[in-house]
Symmetry: C2
Subunit: 479 residues, 2 copies
């Protein structure tokens, strides 16, 4: 700090360079410098923010489109408001239409539906109940009116707020419960008389209906983003990522064994692909919220109204279990203890065979979900995987005896268990991964059956069944 | 179905019993039965719902308390409204105070603060900007007014909606951005003149200020629930759960080796404890939202205003990595291939020693966080754990040779690698878990340093330092 007796202040100007600030005599000069630095810093920060935003808009244009859709919906509502002569009935209540659009317009159709339906149900229920309580309070005389209102308000608000913690309410009606409390308070506290309240309720419901239907129309007509499709593609992409993660893990481990001169560039690309499975570990929350919203969506694309979205969650659970195993595999292979290459070479073939067949199964599952068609190959590939497991087990079983056969009576040259440790871990974790992949296969099969995925085999079989049925009908006509 | 030529319908009455419905002639009779069944079903469902709610309220009374707090806050606001002569200025705008309470009152103090601050900032900014745009539009003449308003509305709404996708905005100002759009729309579209708008803005800000301050007061005065404290206890509880999971895993595996007559009851209790680590796997989302809200909280209890909540997230990440390893360990031990008990017995001691010392470290870390005091024992326990790792490695290293020494030249009796597989996996995963626990130790130490946890050692040292400093001052008085 103190260099040659004088102080020197350096300012970091944001782009990494530093500027030396010479001590200046005037207070004003320093102020100007300070303000300049502040403004410059603000400018740099703002620029970086814009760059980041531009990056997001470029990589995920759907997000930018959502922004434009909200702008569009609000502009349409404001047109409603400007054409007041046309909609005299709404008048000053147009506020509620705007508020509805701002609050209920979500990025996916399902979430928008969820909020709209909740808003309408919550408002109607609370409006009816509020008018009822208001009437009871008015009938009970001036003295008891505030007491009746206060107690009912306190009890209903407490109970409804608490109900938002109950899982079944939370997933389906969390927003509706909030709107219920809000509307009930507004109605029950309002000093209007009951007949005036009916009028108010009518206009409010009309404006909310306009707002919600506008939201639903805009979100469905212009580049609709379906929570269901997002969940669908999330699941099959995660399956691909798992397959890449498993492959990457193995080729990382064996890279110096069979081909020491692998290209670095290729390796780096491979690494980022191999690490992508990590996002499977943390996809639970987004999967659940998407499945929750997808249930509100009407039939769209290849998905019917009652598409079994919950089954996707089961596939997700099975996938995550698989990912935990791959995670452990990944880190165990990078542990301190290294197996010698000579030993690695012995297991190279069966290990690679197992990982290849495992990732083939995962990729086939991904295709099953992506195309929504049952696979004819999957059974074959699963049995391939099981054969690879058995071959690996056989390779392991013959491992020390081959050694001893080669070097008779020289028991000391048997590799010490210490060096075998990473290999043994690799083998068990690979086998464990394969068994977890079978759970994924089962989950996907359940999904395929429940969701009636197309299948060429089944078409043929159902044809045959129909024929059988006709025969049966003819043989037992009384059935 | 067809028994003796007549049809018989059975109805499931909800409590498991079935009732035989005799075919009845009259349509009315059937209707009555149907309605009865429906009402009974509704009653049973409602009862089950209430039972569930009661269970939640009993196990987590804080949730019920939150409900009561919301009821209280709303009752207070309604009192404001009833005493209108006192607050004539608010008048019909009291609605905004109620709305503020309903919308911003969250279960933790931090979340309430977040929403209140966001609401005030969003409303003020949008109000100012809205009045500005309104003025510009009014100045530009009747013809251009709707165009200016429409374009500015469209652009601002789109940009703000899009900005909610940018991570830094999303974590801190998501709600504020929504309120910004809402207020901007209401102000810019309103047909009031600018001077009237100022009045409106003033009353709206006053009501929102009343609502937000009421929320903050009620949430802080009556049984406050701090997001920070919740995060704190979540983290140290998860450390305990990890320790239990690790212990449970090992004793499960070795249970028939050393003590075949373990009591079943004890085992069951142990099992549920051993499975509890699974919730560590999925705690990421709740940890992050709690840390996000905790930043808004004022100093409370043992936590200062700038308590390093983000460091808890780092501990959480390290813990989850540990949990993945324990998950893999858990399932590998339940795999098909079983090691013979004779081999297990050889590794029983070192494995148990390692798991015991590992879980001791985890429990000590839990105590460090719980008491917010640096531990004097932790270094010792970590080195114990490392010694246990080395001992386990030594046990493994001497494993095949001991066998051959016992049974000279009988190489065939060396256990085949196949039987060693689960043991080798156990060993590597245990060692891997130990190395991941060291990462947790580092994360906790960073937290302890940044958060200035108390430490007896440091107190002594700082005493000494002060003394040294005094000496230095005396020796170099010019310093």
């Amino acid at each position: 700090m103190a260099s040659g007796g004088s102080l020197e202040w350096r300012v970091n100007v944001g782009d990494g360079a530093t500027e030396v600030l010479r001590p200046e005599g005037s207070f004003v000069g320093r102020m100007v410098m300070g303000v300049k630095g502040f403004v410059w810093g603000l400018f740099v920060k703002g620029w970086m923010f814009l760059e980041k935003a531009w990056g997001i808009a470029n990589s995920e244009p759907k997000k930018a489109v959502h922004g434009l859709k909200v702008g569009l919906a609000l502009s349409i509502v404001s047109v409603f408001y400007y054409m007041r002569p046309l909609y005299e009935g709404i008048g000053g209540n147009a506020m509620w239409a705007i508020m509805t659009v701002v609050v209920t317009f979500e990025s996916t159709v399902g979430a928008t539906f969820y909020k709209c339906v909740n808003r309408v149900i919550g408002t109607s229920l609370a409006g009816g109940l509020g008018i009822g309580v208001h009437w009871v309070a008015a009938e009970s005389g001036d003295r008891f009116e505030p007491i009746v209102l206060g107690i009912s308000l306190f009890l209903l608000a407490s109970a409804t707020t608490f109900s938002r913690f109950i899982p079944s309410i939370k997933t389906k009606f969390d927003y509706g419960a909030m709107i219920f409390i809000l509307t009930f308070c507004l109605v029950s506290i309002s000093s209007y008389r009951v007949d005036k309240l009916f009028e108010l309720a009518h206009t409010r419901l009309t404006t909310i209906a306009i707002g919600t239907s506008l939201c639903i129309i805009v979100s469905m007509l212009f580049c609709p983003m379906w929570a269901g499709s997002q969940l669908h593609s999330l699941v099959f992409r995660n399956l691909d990522k798992l397959a890449d993660g498993l492959d990457g893990c193995l080729s990382e481990y064996f890279k110096n064994v069979d081909d020491p001169e692998m290209e670095n560039e290729d390796q780096e690309c491979h690494d980022s692909k191999a690490q992508s499975y990590k996002c499977v570990l943390n996809s639970k929350a987004s999967e659940e919220s998407m499945a929750n919203f997808a249930r509100w969506e009407p039939a769209h694309g290849r998905f019917g109204f009652r598409h079994p979205w919950k089954k996707y969650l089961e596939v997700g659970v099975a996938m995550r279990k698989c990912a935990y195993c791959i995670e452990a595999l990944h880190d165990c292979l990078n542990s301190e203890i290294k197996a010698p290459n000579s030993l690695k070479l012995l297991l190279l073939e069966p290990c690679k065979a197992l990982s290849t067949s495992s990732s083939k199964v995962l990729k086939e599952l991904s295709i099953v979900i992506k195309t929504m068609k049952k696979s004819t190959k999957i059974d074959l590939e699963v049995s391939d995987m099981n054969i690879a497991v058995q071959e690996l087990q056989a390779a392991i079983a013959s491992f020390p005896s081959t050694q001893t056969a080669n070097e008779e009576h020289e028991a000391a040259t048997i590799p010490p268990l210490m060096e075998l440790l990473p290999l043994a871990t690799l083998v068990s974790l690979l086998i464990e991964t394969a068994s977890r992949i079978e759970h994924v296969v089962n989950a996907v099969e359940t999904l395929a059956n429940v969701a009636n995925f197309d299948s060429e085999e089944e078409k043929k079989r159902s044809c045959l069944d129909n024929n059988d049925h006709h025969v049966a009908m003819r043989v037992f006509p009384e059935a």
